[in-house]
């Protein structure tokens, strides 16, 4: 396959950045998108040029490190797929492909296609945990969790924290991320004591990081490689409302 790439190049945080074009030749349809970029980089290095910097780690769709916007879609055109699991056979020979980093004030570009996502870490630090003393292991059945709750919590916990929701959102809102983390703990008994405070603190931190607001357009859900449902944002809104009207604390 032969492809024409338009790639965002940016030297560092202060550089304004620009698009550059590269030709990718002799690309096998069985390569992943990142392997295709590896090929392009090999060539760039051989020619004595700077390779394109992009984030990746597990390359098996579980770590949430890879983060490319391809032709305007976070993680590319295939539904429920991280870009490391996206294969070149999904593209056409001779196609023009635009590759950009996640774009949000809360995700400053560090270099080329790599952004700083520590804003998501700070949202977790604000409340995405349960404060319990760890002791001896509990008996497995001492804390009953109804099967549907366990399933729902697990669906929410599928979030790999990649930030595609915010990248895809027209308002650059990371509400699907916050919602997944809030709902995950809200469906388990361990999450109950801090449930009210958690949702308030995480939303507050989300806003402080400079993400936008959710306007119920659901672009996040379409972009999410783990297909996290916007029903978790409904849950977040419900929990937030309850936390606001509850007479506690």
């Amino acid at each position: 396959m032969k492809l024409f790439l338009h790639v965002w190049r940016q030297k560092d945080r202060t550089d304004p950045g620009r698009m550059e074009t590269y030709n990718a030749e002799d690309i096998s349809p069985d390569m992943s998108f990142l392997e295709m970029l590896d090929e392009v980089n090999e060539k760039l290095i051989q020619e004595g040029n700077e390779p394109i910097a992009f984030d990746h780690d597990c390359r098996e769709g579980i770590c949430g490190t890879c983060s490319l916007v391809i032709n305007g879609m976070a993680h590319g055109p295939e539904r429920g797929t991280t870009v490391c699991q996206l294969h070149m056979r999904k593209f056409q020979d001779g196609e023009r492909i635009v590759i950009e980093p996640w774009r949000a004030k809360a995700f400053p570009v560090i270099r080329d296609l790599i952004v700083d996502r520590s804003s998501l870490d700070r949202i977790i630090q604000a409340g995405g945990f349960v404060s319990v003393n760890t002791g001896g292991a509990h008996d497995g059945n001492a804390l009953p969790v109804p099967k549907p709750n366990a399933e729902t919590a697990m669906d929410a916990a599928a979030c790999i924290g990649c930030g595609a929701c915010a990248a895809a959102c027209k308002n650059a809102s990371a509400m699907l991320f916050v919602a997944a983390k809030v709902s995950h703990l809200a469906h388990l008994p361990q999450g109950q004591p801090e449930r009210s405070q958690r949702v308030k603190k995480m939303v507050e931190q989300h806003d402080q990081e400079g993400f936008g607001h959710c306007s119920n357009q659901y672009e996040c859900e379409a972009a999410c490689p783990k297909e996290i449902s916007v029903k978790f944002i409904t849950q977040l809104n419900r929990d937030y409302l309850r936390a606001c009207v509850s007479a506690k604390d």
Partner: protein, 259 residues
């Protein structure tokens, strides 16, 4: 001589430490994105309820002059209560607009560098143009109040050569003749085109807004979503068709002035 030593009497009963009062407790609703959106939803839902009630009132024109004129008199006769309702409505309207615009500005600054290539997967056109349709409604509402409430826009020529302000028209019982006012109002093509255009904007705004409100209130779910979407469309269509029908009935001559 009272002692200067603090006494138990100085403590207010059932009190909270500083920074934990009612204000600090409610402020996050105004300051956070989720809270602001909740208020946009509450005010939006209240405005939608108003629009529906207003439409039902307007539709009385189809049951004749007496029906709508007596309804108008009933509203007028509410006196101070009417003013409370008017200010309440104004308050909701302003809060809705101010918070919606603030959210919009916030989200605009949340992406300082735009995408070179941007795709939209499932966001509806209506959901992406709420601010445009909203501002169009604002412009229309200002015109609408100037037109039918303040009477600044049109005067009518009932007897040739004599122009009266629309609002001065009276029916045989001496009530404000809302029936005739509306008919003469919509006989002006420019005015009625403006009204029809406004109904279009309101239709688009409500086609996203009503269903979106359920999500904002946390009252959506995969099971209910199709029904909620259908309700949103039904409300939008009802409001648009109902209001437009009055204008069109005047145009086609179905509704005629008595004089």
């Amino acid at each position: 001589m009272p002692s200067s030593v603090p006494t138990k009497r100085q403590l207010t009963p059932n009190s909270l430490p500083p920074g934990k009062g009612l204000l600090a407790w409610t402020l996050p609703v105004f300051s956070t994105t989720v809270g602001s959106k909740l208020l946009v939803g509450v005010t939006g839902a209240a405005l939608t309820a108003f629009v529906i009630v207003h439409l039902i009132g307007n539709l009385k024109i189809f049951s004749g002059p007496d029906s709508i004129n007596s309804y108008a008199k009933f509203l007028k006769d509410l006196g101070p209560l009417l003013w409370i309702m008017r200010f309440g409505l104004l308050f909701l309207f302003v809060l809705h607009i101010v918070l919606a615009i603030r959210l919009k500005l916030r989200s605009r600054s949340a992406r300082p560098v735009p995408y070179v290539s941007e795709a939209t997967i499932q966001a509806s056109v209506a959901s992406r143009t709420m601010i445009v349709t909203g501002l169009a409604i604002l412009a229309y509402v200002v015109f609408h109040v100037a037109h039918f409430t303040l009477g600044w826009v049109q005067s009518v020529e009932i007897t040739p050569g004599i122009y009266t302000n629309m609002l001065d028209l009276r029916d045989v019982e001496g009530r404000a003749d809302v029936y005739t006012i509306m008919i003469y109002g919509f006989r002006n093509p420019l005015v009625s085109i403006l009204y029809l255009a406004a109904q279009g904007f309101l239709f688009v705004h409500l086609s996203h807004g009503v269903a979106s409100t359920f999500q904002t209130f946390g009252a959506n779910s995969p099971r209910w979503q199709p029904a909620i979407r259908a309700l949103g469309w039904a409300v939008a269509i009802f409001v648009c068709v109902g209001n437009s029908a009055i204008v069109l009935a005047v145009w086609t001559g179905y509704l005629k002035p008595l004089i």
